[in-house]
């Protein structure tokens, strides 16, 4: 078929394209989808993209960006051309994510109890016990179902060869799942003809599954547990998602001031007086949860919450202190951690990672700086990292001195040319790099939302997909 419509000038070059699938056997659904895109004039796509953007603004599906004096509601740019994952690919991804979550939970239980993995020398003791995210208050504590990471967001990329690789585990309070569902609804609103007759797996079950997990981990002996979602409030940049999740679970969206601890139990202030709370899905960082234990100046949390939790009067998801498992330096050990606890190889490999805390790692990194990606271990959101191949001489030298000054703060990885997807830009539909963040929910067992958040780097050639760095998102279709 002649290429026209939105794919007219599309050429991903040697990059792995999720839509064209070079070197893979033809797939009937993908072929059909490409045909539909070829029949869609680019003007029509632009018109629908404008509709979608207006719709997002009107619905207030926004995050707030604060600068010195102003607060601006911005939308996460949404690209209408979907990212497709085949049923077979999804089976691997799902199994890989579940395996990883199991290993993370076992690792956390171990480092807060017997520390066997440290004794056995698999993970350096200092890396764990000296970690800023290691929480003394968690030592010896047994969370219900042995689950620490109830909601996990695993950042996954795909390289030139189409191999899936894990880039990062997000085991604290990962965000983005609301966009997964809203993006699907947006597709159905403005581009449903693209999906007609295709069997794409639903994403509507998330709230139910999350609520079920929150019920499973509630303190024992409570027949109809009261779940709440704890948010920092309407000024938080992820507030839209907090609202979304509270609605989808059908539970109250509370702030710290709505909760109090009395007689060792947690209560919420209602119109009828105090009412008991059994599970808290918190979207507040560890530091802010309880001024008695963490930051005494924080008004966002609840005084006495940690003590009530440790006594088993309330359950909290995610557990406190999970940051020690998703640390960028610990990440390098994940394949070994999986093997240690599960006796299996990692289904989803890591990106080859070197820790600059180790002399060999530092030497290698300094010698190959121009071809590596170097990341500070304590940062997220794509801040403070170096992409060697894209950096100027001056930038490389600047970074070199920063790295030498504090090597333990950095890890390095080879630059992976992330896979691309056709994406609407000012100059037509072009190849843009993407990643994937599936969301895993764990109570007694782990369930993974089919697909996840596909983030797309909207700037030409950029490998940074974070929303703070000009990234957008796409609807993610898992084929049935």
């Amino acid at each position: 078929m002649r290429q026209d419509g939105v794919l007219a000038d599309y050429d991903p070059g040697s990059l792995f394209c999720e839509m064209l699938r070079p070197g893979q056997p033809p797939h009937s659904v993908l072929s059909l989808l490409r045909d539909r895109l070829r029949l869609l004039p680019i003007e029509a796509l632009r018109r629908r993209a404008a509709d979608a953007e207006r719709d997002l603004l009107e619905r207030g599906i926004t995050f707030t960006v604060y600068s010195d004096a102003t607060a601006i509601d911005r939308i996460l740019p949404f690209d209408l051309i979907p990212r497709v994952i085949t049923a077979e690919e999804w089976r691997t991804l799902e199994a890989g994510v579940i395996q990883r979550v199991r290993a993370l939970n076992l690792f956390l239980h171990d480092v807060y109890h017997d520390r066997k993995i440290l004794t056995d020398g698999v993970v350096p003791r200092e890396l764990v016990l000296g970690n800023a995210a290691y929480c003394e208050a968690m030592i010896g504590f047994n969370p219900p179902c042995g689950t620490y990471v109830h909601v996990c967001g695993t950042d996954i990329i795909r390289d030139d060869a189409g191999r899936f690789l894990v880039l990062e585990d997000n085991a604290r309070t990962p965000s983005g799942v609301a966009y997964v569902v809203e993006n699907r609804h947006m597709t159905l609103r403005v581009l449903s003809d693209l999906m007609t007759g295709l069997h794409v797996r639903s994403v509507d079950e998330y709230g139910l599954r999350l609520h079920r997990a929150m019920t499973e981990i509630a303190p024992s002996g409570v027949s109809d547990p009261q779940v709440v979602l704890l948010s920092p409030g309407i000024f938080n940049s992820a507030y839209f998602e907090h609202v979304f999740l509270a609605r989808e679970m059908g539970v109250p969206l509370v702030e710290g001031e709505d909760l109090r601890v009395e007689d060792g139990r947690v209560w919420m202030r209602t119109t009828a007086g105090l009412a008991p709370v059994h599970t808290i899905y918190r979207r507040l960082n560890d530091d802010f949860l309880d001024p008695d234990v963490f930051r005494p100046d924080s008004h966002l949390g609840v005084r006495g919450l940690m003590e009530a939790w440790r006594r088993g009067a309330v359950s909290i998801a995610n557990a406190v202190g999970t940051g020690v498992a998703d640390d960028k330096a610990v990440y390098a050990y994940m394949p070994r951690i999986i093997r240690y606890y599960l006796g299996e190889d990692a289904i989803l490999p890591n990106v080859d990672t070197r820790s600059c805390a180790e002399p060999e790692g530092l030497a290698y990194t300094l010698a190959h700086l121009h071809e590596l990606v170097v990341k500070p271990v304590a940062e997220s959101g794509g801040y403070g990292l170096l992409i060697g191949p894209h950096a100027s001489k001056v930038e490389l030298e600047e970074f070199r001195s920063r790295l030498k000054a504090n090597p333990a703060n950095y890890i390095s990885q080879p630059m992976v040319n992330l896979s691309v997807s056709p994406t609407l830009s000012d100059v037509g539909v072009k190849a843009r790099h993407i990643d994937l963040r599936p969301f895993a929910v764990t109570g007694r067992d782990t369930w993974v939302l089919p697909g996840g958040l596909t983030r797309v780097a909207l700037r030409p050639g950029s490998l940074v997909v974070n929303s703070s760095q000009g990234g957008g998102s796409k609807d993610t279709w898992v084929l049935a």
Partner: protein, 321 residues
């Protein structure tokens, strides 16, 4: 038997307060739009300046206004109420707080409600001095009224009628009761300076007063013979069928409080119900002539204080202060 709303579903006290305020701010926008529109329409004649001044009196805004503007006329008053974001009684302030409360309640209200508020907020925020020039003013007031009326319709059609709805509705009725007493007080003072109840007053003035309360046609139907001050006062204060009369607003408030107490077992309703009972008795046990005979203004002052106290009772007892 019909399926009842689960009485065990809790409402966060802070959310109850947000629902109450949400309704009050929305009601204020409609009310202000009506007042501006009517004043504009009837200010064409000689008494124009006086009419604009009395609009300021309704909200007790004279000093705030004169700190910024020289004389009350269409342009300055419209600016003060429609585009001045610093003025706490402007529609800019009202829609900002309405949206903030809606955002707080976002998990409890319908998507349609949120969407409409969001779009309405955007439209109001974009209003500039050019948009509110005297010849455009009626159109802007129309837009504001329609915006609130669309909101009210969405509330009617989509708001799940559990506790949160009751608090929203109480906010609406508190605001209406407050606004109507202010309107009567200001206008009767202006129209009856000597406190004589039977002075001949231009029909146009009564006309404007009733239109400002959206009660003109209902009044004509009820009293086709003409305007009698005591009948106008009685209609606005006590009429049981006029949607903005003080009496009807208080009766609605009573129903919501009683329902919250009986269906949801909210013991905190007691102080407000006690106060409301007294207020309703005071209204019901007097004729308009009694009230006018003893002085309308002191009575309305007392009512306004009681309505404010009702709001406080509800907020402190039920909404976590």
């Amino acid at each position: 038997m019909s399926e009842t709303v689960s009485a065990s579903k809790h409402l966060i006290a802070r959310h109850a307060g947000s629902a109450l305020w949400f309704a009050r701010y929305m009601e204020r926008i409609e009310n202000l739009a009506r007042l501006l529109d009517v004043t504009k329409t009837f200010a064409g004649d000689a008494e124009g300046g006086g009419n604009w001044l009395s609009l300021l009196r309704i909200n007790g805004d004279q000093s705030a206004f004169f700190a910024k503007h020289a004389a009350p006329e269409a342009t300055s008053v419209a600016h003060f109420y429609l585009v001045d974001a610093e003025n706490p009684t402007s529609v800019q302030t009202s829609i900002r707080y309405a949206r903030e409360n809606a955002r707080t309640l976002r998990a409890l209200i319908s998507t349609e409600m949120w969407l409409q508020i969001n779009v309405f907020h955007g439209r109001i925020r974009e209003l500039s001095a050019i948009d509110i020039a005297p010849e455009e003013l009626s159109g802007v007031c129309e837009m504001l009224k329609e915006g609130v009326q669309a909101h009210t319709g969405i509330i009617e059609g989509t708001f799940y009628r559990d506790q949160c709805w009751h608090f929203y509705m109480m906010g609406r009725h508190l605001e209406r009761a407050d606004q109507i007493t202010r309107l009567i007080d200001t206008k009767f003072n202006a129209l009856l300076p000597s406190a004589t109840t039977d002075a001949a007053i231009d029909a146009g003035e009564w006309n404007a007063l009733l239109r400002a309360a959206a009660g003109y046609h209902a009044y004509r139907r009820e009293y086709p013979h003409g305007y009698v001050p005591r009948e106008v006062a009685g209609f606005l204060l006590l009429n049981a069928a006029f949607p903005r009369s003080a009496g009807l607003s208080l009766a609605q408030l009573d129903w919501h409080l009683t329902t919250l107490r009986s269906r949801y077992h909210l013991r905190g309703c007691a102080p407000a119900l006690g106060r409301l009972d007294h207020l309703q008795t005071m209204l019901a046990s007097q004729t308009v002539d009694d009230i006018l005979g003893r002085g309308l203004s002191p009575f309305l002052d007392w009512m306004q204080r009681e309505i404010a106290a009702l709001h406080e009772d509800i907020v402190t007892q039920l909404c976590g202060g």
